[in-house]
């Protein structure tokens, strides 16, 4: 039994601070939906509004079509997995998992049986009588998931539950979470600041910044067709050039920057005269020994990183603009050296003009 979650013009204010600003989104039953954004963007506040720990200042939260106004967390069909998991350290593992059933008056034998069943589901069959403190990080994670699943929630809310794990385990748990979600068909709402996590696991992603929902789309669209400069810069790497839109020709426009005039396509809602930036993904920036016919800048290589499956090259042009280009390593690629003269060449189709702030992590570029 999974239910959809609908946020209808939801606003949350703490004093004069607007943590969530007029967010509307319709999350489908059985969907794996992620809210992605930097810390302080309001994503955790959204989660706490859905779970019922706080009530929105304005707007409605509906779960399974029902307005949740005034319903406490213990009256909602949601289960929250806390960032620090919040397992009960004084109870053995199985009592942790069965706590929700204990609350519902299920008798002890049935509780125990259900806890063991869930432990098998999360691949921890022998942990029932262990203490929480005896478990590793990944095992605690699974117990937290089992505890939340035990109450058969219609909606599972996850607040960056993987952030405390090391990289290997995190990648493993991603796949595991995804598999559990597919198996149980429960709606998952996942909060993260890790774009890789959001893109890899989600059916749809909502990117947030400063309390506002910037874009809601399937992962490919978030990456390939970002709605604005923030989404483009928060998700993935970019070459970002400032300039002015000067002319239009066959779907593309010309964009004059200090480093030259390039052809590029207009992003959503961008028109001539707008203050836009050019965004170009590193994998679309080709490092060439010869100048291209158009969209070509002479550069000098400043740094080369051989990553195995791809080669990442940093370079700088005569105006001081820096570039990152990435090429797949097909075995025959020639690795340039520091100080080599090359050309950055790209197609106008791959360069997109977007407006809006850019995320802090890309500001230096």
């Amino acid at each position: 039994m999974s239910a959809g979650v609908e946020l209808d013009n939801v606003t949350m204010e703490f004093g004069s601070f607007r943590a969530v600003d007029n967010v509307s989104v319709n999350i489908q039953p059985g969907e794996f939906f992620s809210f992605l954004g930097p810390s302080g963007c309001g994503k955790t506040t959204i989660l706490r509004m859905i779970s019922g720990f706080i009530q929105p200042t304005k707007g409605l939260v509906k779960i399974g079509g029902k307005d949740m106004q005034g319903a406490r967390p213990n009256q909602r069909p949601t289960a929250l997995i806390f960032q620090n998991l919040a397992l009960f350290p004084l109870m053995p593992v199985w009592e942790n998992i069965a706590f929700g059933l204990e609350v519902r008056g299920v008798d002890k034998a049935k509780r125990r049986a259900r806890a063991e069943e869930l432990l098998r589901l999360v691949d921890l069959p022998d942990a029932a009588d262990k203490r929480v403190s005896q478990l590793s990080g990944g095992q605690k994670q699974r117990v937290a998931i089992a505890r939340a699943l035990a109450v058969e929630p219609s909606v599972m809310l996850l607040d960056e539950p993987l952030s405390a794990l090391d990289l290997k385990l995190r990648q493993h748990m991603r796949a595991e979470l995804r598999a559990i979600q597919k198996r149980t068909q429960v709606t998952f709402i996942y909060i993260t600041h890790d774009q890789g996590e959001a893109l890899a696991m989600s059916d749809r992603v909502g990117v947030m910044s400063h309390g506002k929902l910037q874009q809601v789309a399937v992962p490919q669209d978030i990456y390939n067709n970002p709605a604005n400069g923030f989404v483009a810069s928060f998700v993935g790497e970019n070459n970002i050039l400032s300039g002015d839109i000067t002319g239009e020709e066959g779907g593309l426009v010309s964009f004059a920057t200090p480093s030259g005039t390039f052809s590029a396509r207009l992003g959503p809602g961008v028109s001539k005269g707008a203050k836009a930036r050019l965004f170009l993904r590193p994998e679309h920036a080709r490092l060439s020994t010869e100048a291209g016919k158009e969209n070509s800048v002479p550069v000098e290589v400043t740094d080369v990183a051989f990553e195995g499956n791809f080669i990442s090259v940093h370079s700088v042009d005569a105006k001081g603009q820096t570039y990152i280009s990435e090429a797949r390593n097909d075995g025959s690629a020639v690795i340039p050296g520091r100080g080599d003269k090359r050309h950055i060449v790209f197609e106008g189709q791959h360069a997109v003009l977007l407006t809006g702030d850019i995320s802090a992590k890309d500001v230096d570029e």
Binding site: P73, N74, T78, A79, L80, L90, F99, A150, V151
Partner: protein
């Protein structure tokens, strides 16, 4: 130690240590040893002290077990001290929970101040104040009469009623602060997790908050119980003439009978029997001594 030396130099450090040692040895350890030694000796006229009759025996201790009246007083002292402890817990737990998890941070200093202000007044004055408040024609009765809650004045200082009120008032903070510390160390997410899993408030307390605060409750309870059982001031002032606290019997032995030997034996009996009682209760509630020390 080397820290102390570096900060204050040799002379001051020596003075600190000597003063502390003096206090501990001369004012705490030696008097107790003296009383302990005396508790095994008979009460004799001065000229027979050190004579052939002055031998060690358990007679002083046996006096207690041969006296049903004294044993009766002891039992009631234990019962009423337990009652005081229970009432302190009932008052302190909700307050401690409120202060550590619900009250907004900015009012915490004010709350602490309000709790501490009564401690600035000496215990004697506070007990006298209760004596006045609880008097038959005192402010409590006139207020209750005025509000129409009671029809005739209540004799508050009857039996151990006044003592219980006075002891609760005097020692409730010793229960509050350990519990406050314990609950404060509980991750608020655990309370929220319980609620999120559907738990009503009372079950969250029963299964999550209370078990976590058990060490705090235990140390608060031990302190309140021991202090209550050992209190002399409050029972002297607030008990009715017919009800006696065990400490009053010790006082009678020492100051009215001038028999310090039996008085000492009674004092150590109080300590030993209370310790036994506390250990039994701790075992019943499955609290370990190491939990309390945390």
């Amino acid at each position: 130690m080397s820290d102390l030396l570096n900060r204050y130099g040799g002379l001051l450090t020596a003075i600190f240590i000597l003063l502390t040692a003096f206090w501990l040895l001369m004012l705490v350890i030696l008097p107790n040893i003296y009383l302990f030694e005396n508790s095994f000796r008979p009460y004799l006229p001065v000229n027979e002290m050190g004579g052939p009759k002055d031998v060690y025996s358990l007679n002083n201790y046996l006096t207690f077990f041969k006296s049903p009246i004294h044993m009766n007083v002891f039992v009631w002292t234990i019962i009423y001290s337990s009652l005081v402890t229970l009432i302190c817990f009932i008052i302190a737990y909700p307050l401690a929970y409120y202060m550590s998890k619900i009250a907004p941070d900015r009012i915490i200093p004010t709350l602490f101040l309000l709790l501490f202000v009564p401690l600035w007044v000496s215990e004697v004055l506070r007990s006298f104040a209760w004596f006045i408040i609880l008097a038959l024609k005192g402010p409590l009765n006139s207020t209750l009469l005025g509000l129409g809650i009671i029809e005739a004045p209540v004799r508050w200082i009857m039996g151990f009623r006044g003592v219980v009120i006075g002891l609760v008032y005097t020692y409730v903070l010793f229960m509050l602060f350990p519990i406050y510390n314990a609950i404060q160390s509980l991750d608020t997410n655990q309370i929220e997790a319980a609620e999120d899993l559907g738990s009503p408030w009372w079950r969250t307390h029963l299964r999550v908050i209370l078990p976590h605060s058990k060490p705090g409750i235990a140390s608060g309870a031990v302190m309140v119980f021991m202090l209550s059982a050992g209190s002399i001031l409050v029972p002297t002032l607030l008990a009715s003439t017919t009800s006696r606290w065990f400490t009053e019997i010790i006082q009678q032995w020492m100051f009215e009978s001038q028999d310090w030997n039996t008085g000492s034996a009674y004092a150590f009996l109080l300590l030993i029997l209370c310790t036994v009682f506390v250990s039994v209760v701790m075992r019943v509630f499955r609290v370990k001594l190491s939990d309390i020390a945390k």
